[in-house]
Amino acid sequence: MRQRLAGHSVPFLPPGMVSGFEFQEKHMFGDRQFAEGRMFAFPSHYLKGDGFMDAEITLRVDGEEHRLTVDTRTTILDALRESIGNTSPKKGCDHGQCGACTVLLDGRRVNSCLTLAVAHDGAEVTTSEGLSENGELHPMHRSFMEHDAFQCGYCTPGQIVSAVGMLDEVEAGWTSHATEDGENVSLSDEEIRERMSGNLCRCAAYANMLPAIKEVSDR
């Protein structure tokens, strides 16, 4: 039996939010019984009579506003790909381990496969498609093409968004594992390699991404 208990008020939740506990079945371990489940939180107006939870949210994607109804289990990645029809970010592992789904969420790079859509009502999402302006490719797009910084192209939109987000992080002075002097963050080859290592590429175009990214950062 899938059951949901909802509507409990928990002190740390923001106003208008309620919490619930969802449990699926009971397991026996020795003579003890356990319910398998999870805590969840959601705005109180999302509650519907049948217990099946959808939520209405707004996402601003690549400059365009989308009002959509999502299952509360839906990630931003799946909302983009399956509801909005923006397949620029890719699903490579569904675990936050490959980076193919990277988007800028309110300006910061995130793995959209690990980000629940319902938790980001009103957010601004930028995909690689949205880096283009007025039909013109972004300099990072052009540099990746010129340096052949991809082969199959599947990880590529995530790599490009990640590269653009990464340059902003360096600009803001964020340090990385490769940073030697925390006061002065400079964009060495080692810094680029380290900061781009959240995005896997099985075709192994890494050694072409490096000059592609450097060329853009040098401008």
Binding site: D94, Q97, C152, C155, I160
Partner: protein, 700 residues
């Protein structure tokens, strides 16, 4: 380079990928991304036992879940034709042959509902004992009838035992390579739709016709009733070559909801159980040489693994048959058939693990003979292909070794292990040779249409899995038509275009390119003969099949290469870093200098990955891979790849095909793991014969 190419000058130019502008934006359409009305979503049910049968399956809770459309099990699955392929003939009974095998599916209106409801299906099994323990001392090892690509399992020339007994220098060691998974970044994906007895598959495949020809007989259909659409493929590396059961599952599910598209993408976890992988290998290499270092005996005895439900026999020992000169050469292959998933192609099946062992052994033998490993290889260069007895159409190994040594700075190397250090890092260098056959595949045809405005449309059901086909085929066609590259439009990746073989065995350009050259010649002749040399207003087209290559019986055809690696090993932790790698290839004429370099590079790094990272760990009790995701199955990241110096020698080979090209998709991976292992030995004095070279093997 994006400038206009002069007519006849496209081949060889570093032209950027024509579909690049789509790929960088994420606008290239991969299989799962085709927009179709009201799709349903599939989440599979996978066996949690490795051997037995499904005794009871209760889908009632799943069926009651909101959004669920249907639950597919062996109890309600449509019947498939018996084609003799137990990997593909799923859901025809409750039998289970490996853990993770598909035993059903939930089809729902949303991805989330399908995934959730799949967890609600209750399955009971009758379990039989699991036999998944791969050991060379099993008493049930057997010799397969033939190896992958049709090679003989066992070969023997001369008298290896006699030669070894009388050799001045003898070498005998055993190497192992682990189970490895292809893991293209795009998971295997399908959208299946049935409409009036015809099946359309939007598919992630290395060959639309390979998919068509495999799937149609299963459903009792004529081939043309199965339409396969695959314009862009997010990598394959062999695992999307021969279709796996995921395609069948999607097509079966779509039958339950006829007219409605069913979408199915494997999760990364599933990629480790149903999408093919490289068998683990155990290779005993024996070498004999005279006092000067001339080889007198070469022997590779291979033990590897297959699945009980379907045989795949990797051709691991074949490169030992032709790589170096010796009067006495022997290779054998034995298989263990286990309750495990079905192995298949992974980039350079055979050569990749086989050349790790042979090229490691050649390094060890050079040391035994007190010779430089580059010179040792060169002095054992054969004059002809010892397996077939034919001369080589071209053999550039020596040139690659010499050129690579020069570029890398090999001369003056101190051969003594542990002779160089940089702080806590032990520094070493290593070399290894590379080889890959020039394969050609049959069943190719192409159509080229000329329009009166001077534009040409070229159609062939070829594949681009990241290999650059969209661009390179256009270059070949443009040159043969005598027009500029920009005037040629390619159409590939769809069974609505003429029949084509797939992207496998590095055979694509040889097979498709030869066909395009023939079609272009036909078109030019037609324009000349029927239209006085002018393209008529209504346009004109010509088709051709791939011609037979008469030189195939006259020459042995291979590409060669040489890898040079610098390895640095942390003396305390055993961490291995590879700051630089130089590789030189002899692969005939290079069609596109930009995309070719990327293909070589991808292979080299996958070899580096095999050397240091990749290993699928099987729990022999349950027959499943425990490290089944990217957190635990490691592949290189950007930070793991150093400076790569990639080049090729000029090679004019008029025999391989009309372009003079050799396939380059696989040669980069061959030998590169051995070059790393040899460099690690030189750095540390520790010889690791078991891949991958993880820190524990260097600090114990």
């Amino acid at each position: 380079m994006t400038a206009t190419q002069a007519p006849g000058k496209s081949v060889g130019a570093p032209i950027s990928r024509v579909e690049g502008h789509l790929k960088v934006r994420g606008a290239a359409t991969y299989a799962y991304e085709h927009r179709l009305d009201e799709p349903a979503y599939l989440h599979p049910l996978q066996s949690t036992i490795a051997n037995g049968r499904v005794a009871k399956i209760d889908a009632s809770r799943a069926e009651a879940e909101p959004g669920v459309v249907a639950v597919l099990t062996h109890e309600n699955a449509p019947k498939l034709e018996a084609v003799g392929d137990a990997e593909l003939e799923i859901l025809q009974n409750g039998e289970v042959g490996f853990r993770g095998q598909f035993i059903g599916a939930v089809i729902a209106d949303t991805f989330e509902a399908a995934r959730y409801a799949a967890g609600l299906v209750e399955i009971e099994y009758e379990e039989r004992e699991t036999d998944a323990d791969f050991r060379p001392d099993r008493d049930d090892l057997y010799t397969p009838e033939q190896l992958n690509a049709g090679f003989e399992p066992d070969t023997s020339v001369g008298d290896v035992d006699g030669a070894l007994a009388s050799a001045a220098v003898k070498f005998d060691a055993t190497y192992t390579t682990p189970r490895e998974h292809n893991n293209p970044m795009e998971p295997h994906s399908s959208i299946a739709v049935w409409d009036e007895g015809e099946l359309t598959l939007y598919e992630s495949t290395q060959g639309v016709y390979w998919t068509q020809n495999t799937i149609a007989p299963l459903f009792g259909l004529d081939a043309e009733k199965v339409h396969v659409i695959s314009p862009h493929v997010g990598g394959g590396f062999g695992s999307k070559g021969l279709p796996h059961a995921n395609v069948v599952l999607a097509a079966l599910a779509a039958m339950l909801v006829e007219g409605r598209p069913v979408k199915f993408a494997l999760t990364r976890h599933m990629m480790f159980s149903v999408a093919g992988y490289r068998t683990p290998t155990i290779q005993r290499i024996r070498l004999g040489a005279d006092a000067e270092g001339k080889l007198s005996a070469i022997c590779n005895d291979v033990v590897e693994q297959t699945s009980k439900i379907k045989e795949f026999a990797e051709q691991t020992g074949t490169s030992a048959r032709m790589m170096y000169d010796s009067s006495n050469i022997q290779t054998t292959h034995l298989l263990a058939a286990l309750d495990v998933a079905v192995p298949s192609w992974l980039r350079a099946p055979g050569e990749a693990p086989g050349m790790f062992a042979l090229e490691s052994a050649m390094d060890e033998m050079a040391i035994e003979c007190d010779l430089d490993p580059v010179e040792f290889r060169i002095m054992n260069e054969p004059e002809k292909d010892l397996e077939s007895g034919l001369p080589f159409s071209s053999r550039g190994l020596v040139a690659c070794l010499r050129e690579g040594a020069e570029r890398f700075g090999w001369d003056g190397r101190n051969p003594t292990p542990r002779s160089e250090r940089d702080g806590r890092w032990l520094v070493g260098t290593g070399v290894a040779s590379s080889v890959y056959p020039v394969f050609s595949m049959g069943g190719n045809a192409a159509t080229i249409r000329a329009d009166s405005d001077g534009k040409y449309v070229v159609e062939i059901g070829a594949a681009d899995i990241g290999t650059g086909t969209w661009t390179t085929l256009g270059q070949i066609a443009a040159d043969e038509l005598g027009v500029s590259f920009e005037d040629v439009e390619m159409k590939i990746g769809d069974t609505k275009f003429p029949n084509a073989s797939g992207a496998g065995g590095s055979s694509g350009i040889t097979s498709w390119g030869s066909t395009l050259v023939e079609a272009a010649r036909s078109l030019r002749e037609k324009i000349e003969a029927e239209h006085g040399g002018n393209i008529p207003d209504e346009g004109v087209e010509a088709s051709a099949k791939m011609p037979k290559n008469p030189h195939r019986k006259e020459y042995a055809m291979y590409a060669f290469g040489a890898h040079f690696v610098e390895a640095r090993v942390d003396e305390d932790t055993g961490e291995v870093r590879v700051p630089r790698m130089t590789s030189v290839f002899a692969a005939g004429r290079i069609i596109n200098a930009k995309t070719a370099r990327s293909q070589f590079m991808g292979g080299m790094v996958m070899g580096l990955s095999a050397a240091l990272h990749e290993e699928s760990v099987l729990d022999t009790r349950f027959g499943h891979v425990v490290n089944h995701d990217f957190a635990e199955y490691h592949i290189p990241t950007n930070a793991d790849v150093g400076e790569l110096d990639i080049s090729w020698i000029e090679e004019d080979d008029p025999y391989v095909n009309p372009m003079g090209s050799k396939g380059i998709g696989e040669i980069g991976i061959v030998g590169s793991a051995a070059a790393v292992a040899n460099a690690v030995y030189h750095a540390t004095g520790t010889r690791v014969r078991e891949l991958p070279i993880t820190p524990d093997k260097l600090i114990s």
